[in-house]
């Protein structure tokens, strides 16, 4: 089995719900807590397994905003595991999930240097490295309904931009999505062979704007008044 995620960049709205639900589930999960530093201070920071960045692709007027969630890619060639001197980082043979044994980690940061995707973050409180577990404490829990045996981020996503499944099975929904929507891996030139794949935005016809009427006089006056009045 090769478990991983498919992330649909066409429908991701960048709401950060996946990151929040990930934090909520995993802070009390197997590698929790996900420590927060000064949560009520001026510069709240902390450990996250999932981060969303926002990019602009192309130049105006042919530009597009892309919301870009990233977590551990559970790479086939996981250098983070190879470089770990203590054996705390390991890749499960049965499903390819990369995990960190919190009891063995010495906090040398070396695995985070080897990760190109920024998936690993040191918890300054515990002094150990932490990362996405693909909700390993959820996906095999037989007390949960089958539909709930998925990573927390996948269940939470309101736009259905996240899909979880087995890439070794050519008929699984994730394999089909990658095949049909031309899914791709990030930074393939480094040779990590990440399991997670990204679906590019669909090609759509441009919306014609030539026939859109300009502003009427009353609208222009109202806009000017709104700007002029100091509230």
């Amino acid at each position: 089995m090769k478990l991983g995620l498919v992330i649909d960049l066409d429908v991701c709205v960048g709401c950060h719900a996946c990151a929040v639900s990930c934090k909520q589930w995993n802070t009390s999960g197997t590698t929790g807590p996900l420590t927060d530093y000064h949560p009520y201070g001026e510069d709240p920071s902390g450990v996250w397994f999932n981060r969303i960045r926002h990019y602009e692709v192309g130049d105006y007027p042919n530009n597009k905003t892309i919301n870009f969630p990233m977590s551990c890619m559970h790479c086939e060639q996981a250098d983070c595991v190879d470089v770990c001197p203590t054996g705390a980082s390991y890749k499960r043979a049965e499903d390819g999930v990369v995990l960190i044994d919190q009891d063995k980690c010495m906090g040398c940061n070396y695995c985070s240097w080897a990760c190109p995707y920024g998936a690993r973050e040191l918890d300054r409180e515990s002094g150990t490295m932490k990362k996405c577990t693909l909700c390993i404490d959820r996906i095999y829990d037989e007390r949960l309904d089958p539909v709930d045996r998925q990573p927390s981020c996948v269940i939470t996503c309101p736009a259905h931009a996240r899909h979880f499944g087995d890439f070794d099975d050519p008929d699984s929904p994730v394999s089909r999505l990658v095949r049909e929507r031309a899914g791709y891996q990030l930074m393939p030139e480094l040779g990590y062979h990440p399991a997670n794949q990204y679906l590019p935005p669909r090609l759509t016809r441009p919306v014609p704007v030539e026939d859109v009427k300009g502003k009427s006089l009353i609208h222009s006056v109202r806009d000017w008044v709104n700007k002029a009045v100091v509230r």
Binding site: E56, P85, M106, S112, W113, P188
Partner: protein, 312 residues
């Protein structure tokens, strides 16, 4: 990359220590001038002090040092683990070598030489592993080169050579043959460092386009998604002023290579006392300290692409 002081001190001090020990064993093996009992013992002791201080300092950057003993267990895949194993294996051979020298009262013996060569090989393996820790990372293109372990080995040997010349002169020797070797090593180390600095100027490696997969248009960061710094920005986001980097490179070549090499040439010609040898050693170690700081400060991890860098 964030230049951590503990790692800079570790690589400079233990590199010089291993270099000093290697050259000491070699010089003794070839019966170089000035390798008397006093030089041997003081060189051995200084090497062990430098190595131990460096190794101790390297544990200060661990966030969870109580698990440091586990670092010897992934010898098969991890260069960090290999470095630790070689570093620890070096100690018994190095101590036994110095003990035999003392017990045999400065007489040469085959067993002593054999143990010395074993310690030399382990020292070589340790410094090579230190270089490979950085060179094996595909994520940092400034490090992912054969020049990295070559630089670590040559600079370790060169600084060790300068220290050995200093100790020979302190113990009443002339040190001309070792000075010739140290000067040559400084020259070669300086040239490979110059090759390295020219090589990293070329822009290669991943871009923000391959990092996001959008290779058909320009990609710009709109928002990183966090307001305060994160582990990733703290660890990998370090950026120094390019002008400062360039002026520090002059310092590396002047203090790290040129001035010590000039002094070695003077010793070879028969001039200078041990006081100026000490000055040359301090000069070399200071210059190499700057070199090591630059090694970290100039390294650009690919994760910076996700935070808006266009190229690494």
């Amino acid at each position: 990359m964030h230049p951590a002081f503990s790692v800079i001190f570790f690589t400079v001090a233990s590199g010089a220590g291993y270099g000093l020990f290697m050259l000491m064993v070699l010089a003794r093996l070839f019966n170089a001038e000035g390798m008397n009992m006093g030089t041997m013992l003081s060189a051995g002791m200084l090497a062990l002090v430098l190595i131990s201080a460096g190794l101790l300092s390297s544990t200060f950057h661990l966030a969870n040092p109580k698990n440091a003993w586990r670092a010897f267990f992934r010898f098969r895949t991890s260069w960090l683990s290999r470095e630790g194993v070689f570093a620890v294996l070096f100690y018994p051979f190095a101590l036994l070598y110095l003990l035999l020298l003392w017990v045999l009262d400065n007489q040469n013996s085959t067993i002593m030489s054999g143990i010395g060569v074993l310690a030399l090989l382990l020292a070589l393996a340790t410094v090579f592993s230190t270089g490979m820790i950085y060179a094996c990372l595909k994520t940092i293109r400034q490090w992912n080169t054969a020049l990295t372990p070559a630089n670590y080995l040559l600079i370790g040997l060169a600084t060790g050579g300068v220290l050995l010349v200093m100790l020979i002169m302190m113990n009443g020797g002339r040190g001309s043959s070792v000075a010739w070797l140290a000067g040559t090593l400084l020259l070669i180390a300086g040239i490979t460092k110059a090759v390295y600095y020219f090589w990293i100027r070329t822009v290669i490696g991943p871009s923000i386009n391959t990092a996001t997969g959008f290779t058909r248009a320009q990609v710009r960061l709109l928002d990183t998604g966090h307001t305060a710094g994160t582990f990733l920005t703290d660890e990998f986001g370090y950026q120094a002023d390019p002008q400062l980097l360039d002026s520090l490179k002059y310092m590396v070549f002047i203090f790290g290579f040129f001035l010590p090499a000039c002094f070695m040439a003077a010793v070879f010609a028969g001039a200078g006392g041990w006081g100026s040898a000490l000055l040359a050693a301090l000069c070399a170690l200071g210059g190499i300290g700057v070199e090591r700081w630059l090694f970290f400060a100039e390294a650009r991890h690919v994760v910076n692409l996700y935070h808006g860098a266009q190229r690494t």
